[in-house]
């Protein structure tokens, strides 16, 4: 069965420090991969996605992620964190269906705290 693992439940970084959030997936084919961010009490906002092509993808708010097939990983990075980045981050896998994807499988999320 498909699954998504985000090993870090909580991460705390200082403002201005670099950030890497880990995501590993289990899926038989090349998946569609997503990172979403959720502020408290809000819906989810898409940060970036990977479908095919260049394995390093750029997203909004200065985030990027790299797809590594050999490691079944899609880690999210940001070179310098801002206090406004404090939120919960979700990695998700889209299971392929008829050439596209239908359902998303989410990881449990990583809650990011940012110290001033």
């Amino acid at each position: 069965a498909q699954s998504v693992t985000q090993p870090d439940i909580h991460i705390t970084v200082s403002e201005g420090a670099s950030l890497e959030l880990r995501c590993n997936y289990s899926y038989g084919a090349t998946p569609y991969l997503f990172w979403y961010v959720q502020s408290p009490g809000q819906g989810l906002q898409l940060l970036l996605k990977y479908f095919s092509g260049d394995t390093l993808v750029q997203g909004i708010k200065g985030f990027e992620a790299e797809f590594k097939r050999s490691q079944s990983s899609f880690n999210l990075r940001k070179p310098s964190v801002h206090w406004s980045d404090a939120a919960e981050y979700f990695c998700a896998v889209g299971t392929r269906f008829s050439g596209g994807y239908n359902k998303l499988i989410f990881g449990a999320g990583t809650r990011l705290a940012v110290h001033p």
């Binding site: 989810l44 898409l46 994807y101 359902k103 999320g109």
Partner: protein
């Protein structure tokens, strides 16, 4: 542009009472529609999805049901709420294209007492 609405934003209901949550999408036609539940401190669990009017796929057998009476309307219901139904309910939509992204609504916070 497309927008997605959910209401109510918050709801407090007694155990055993019925439930109806509504989700509507504007600015698109024939979207795929999804209901997710997010329990406290946990990730998102897909409950139902729909690829068209009257077409509902259930992911997790439970106390809830879903209906899609119109193209851009998706309703989540229960006849009798349980304490375990408490959580944050998110509706999402995506277009029919292979590369389309899922976009989420603002959510409904349900507390069952």
């Amino acid at each position: 542009s497309q927008t997605i609405h959910q209401w109510p934003a918050t709801l407090v209901q007694p155990v055993g009472s019925p439930l109806s949550l509504e989700c509507t999408v504007e600015g698109t036609s024939n979207p795929n529609l999804y209901w997710y539940r997010q329990a406290a401190g946990r990730g998102l669990q897909l409950l139902f999805y729909s690829v068209g009017i009257g077409q509902i796929s259930s992911e997790v057998p439970q106390n809830l049901s879903a209906s899609r009476p119109q193209d851009r309307q998706f309703i989540l219901s229960s006849k009798k709420l349980l304490l375990s139904d408490s959580g944050f309910y998110l509706c999402a939509w995506r277009g029919g294209g292979a590369g389309d992204t899922q976009y989420f609504g603002p959510g409904t916070r349900l507390t069952v007492l």
